[in-house]
Structures are given as structure tokens and as C-alpha cells.
């Protein structure tokens, strides 16, 4: 690419500059996300070692990670991790937990029924609607065609 005018240069900078934040964001997302999954795996191995079956182990892992995430959200630590790690803390089950816990705390002032109880599902609601609806469709297909 030839750079003759100032505009060409600005276009060039514009094209090049977003790359480095993306790489950095991806790197942070990678290791934080990987670390959360690894913590999950260690909890899983521990449950297996204690003699739980596979399904129970998975459920215990989910509940524990959700509990830790709720605790850290309450202390306002999770939001800081989220700012740093982006998708690294959003995509694991911790992000789902944070999306429930965070509005529950923020909207406390609007009351315990419509504030906490209602706003809790601003982000998690869509996730449950689409996830559960899709699973019902899959189940119906499995009933008739498999």
C-alpha cells in the first residue's frame, strides 16, 4: 500500500491499529478462560476421586463455579476480572452466573420482587429461553425420528 496523502496514512493506521488490542484481548481471554476450565477440571477430578458418578461430578463443578462467581461478583471482584479477561470470564459458566448475580445486586433498590427477582433475568432470561426451547425441539425430534 502506497502512502501519499495524510488521508492514506490515517486509513492505514485505522486498518492496522485494532489488531493489537484484539491479540491482547484474545490472549487474556485464552488464559483466564482456560484457567477457569482447569479449576473446574480439578474440582471434577476431586469429586470423581471421592466416588461421585459422572453426572453428579459435572453438576457439582457447575454449582461450585457458579457459587465462586456469585461470591466474587458480590465483592465486585468479578467485574474487574471481566474487564481484563473479556470473553475469558464471560463464556464459561461463570459468565452466566455473573449475568444473574450482577443485576440482582444492582437493582436491589427497585425492590426485592421486581428489582432483584425480575431484573435477575435480563441477560440470563434470553439464554434460558433459547437454550431450553432448542433443547425441547431437539427432544421432540429425537422422540419421532431417532
Amino acid at each position: 500500500m502506497k502512502i501519499n496523502t495524510k488521508k492514506d496514512y490515517l486509513d492505514y493506521v485505522d486498518k492496522k491499529s485494532p489488531n493489537s488490542p484484539i491479540l491482547k484481548n484474545c490472549f487474556n481471554a485464552f488464559w483466564v478462560g482456560g484457567l477457569i476450565c482447569t479449576i473446574g477440571q480439578i474440582i471434577f477430578d476431586f469429586c470423581e476421586y471421592k466416588g461421585f458418578d459422572y453426572t453428579s461430578c459435572s453438576t457439582i463443578v457447575s454449582i461450585t463455579l457458579i457459587g465462586i462467581s456469585a461470591f466474587l461478583t458480590g465483592l465486585n471482584i468479578f467485574n474487574k476480572i471481566g474487564k481484563f479477561a473479556g470473553a475469558g470470564s464471560l463464556v464459561p459458566i461463570t459468565g452466566f452466573a455473573n449475568s444473574i448475580v450482577s443485576p440482582a445486586i444492582e437493582y436491589k433498590s427497585e425492590g426485592y420482587v421486581m428489582g432483584v427477582g425480575g431484573k435477575m433475568f435480563t441477560v440470563a432470561g434470553p439464554v434460558l429461553v433459547y437454550g431450553i426451547s432448542a433443547s425441547v425441539i431437539v427432544g421432540i425430534i429425537a422422540t419421532f425420528f431417532v
Binding site: G34, T38, T55, L90, F96, M120, P126, S135, V146
Partner: protein
């Protein structure tokens, strides 16, 4: 101490790498498409249901363990797996019961801990 010796380090490494890669996909979606986080979570959970229904995701779970089950894709795959298993054992009724049944622990935990946290924690005003 038996437990620490029984940990499979290769398994942890596979878990770390696969879990990290799934998060990178999410990060690229955030940076490149400007989708809101709610949409990204919906995309992940729905994709998980589809991958779980086709049966591909099960292989990733065999390979990476929690690296595949902890991300929301795994939550979706678990919904699909539950719906299929229950549908095969108790028919159409199972199609409605199975998905939520399989992920009930996670959903209930998130709601319960969320409620408890809201009772204890003070709101933090976002500076944005």
C-alpha cells in the same frame, strides 16, 4: 495426597487449551461484531444445543473434559443430551423434561446464589 498424585496433568493441559480456545472464539465475536454479551451467550448456548444434538460435542468432552463442559457451549450440549436421553426413555414428555432436568443444578444454583448475594452485597455504581 493420593488425590494430588492421581491428577492427570495431560488432561488438565487439554482442558486448559480447549477451554481457552472456546473463549478466544467468544473474544473474537466481541471484538469483531460488537454483539452484546447477552447475544453472545445466546449464540453459545444455542450452538451448544445444536452441536450436542448432532453428537459432535460429546467427542470434545471426551477429549477435554471440563474444558468443554464448563463453557456455555457445554451447558447447551448438556441441555440437548438431557432432552435426547429423556425423550428416548419416556417419549414426548421426556423431550420437555430432559433438558431442564439435566441442567437444573446449575440454574437453581445461579438463581439461589444470586438471590443470596443480592441480600448481602451492596450495589456498586458503574462508572460508565
Amino acid at each position: 495426597m493420593d488425590f494430588i498424585q492421581s491428577i492427570d496433568l495431560m488432561q488438565l493441559l487439554r482442558c486448559f487449551i480447549v477451554g481457552g480456545l472456546i473463549c478466544i472464539v467468544g473474544q473474537i465475536l466481541i471484538d469483531k461484531t460488537k454483539l452484546t454479551s447477552a447475544r453472545i451467550l445466546v449464540i453459545f448456548v444455542t450452538t451448544g444445543v445444536i452441536l450436542g444434538a448432532i453428537g459432535i460435542y460429546q467427542y470434545l468432552i471426551y477429549f477435554a473434559g471440563c474444558g468443554a463442559t464448563v463453557p456455555l457451549l457445554g451447558f447447551g450440549a448438556n441441555l440437548a443430551k438431557g432432552a435426547i436421553t429423556e425423550a428416548q426413555s419416556s417419549g414426548l414428555l421426556g423431550a420437555f423434561i430432559g433438558g431442564v432436568k439435566a441442567s437444573a443444578g446449575g440454574i437453581a444454583a445461579a438463581i439461589f446464589f444470586g438471590y443470596i448475594a443480592s441480600l448481602i452485597a451492596k450495589p456498586h455504581i458503574k462508572k460508565q
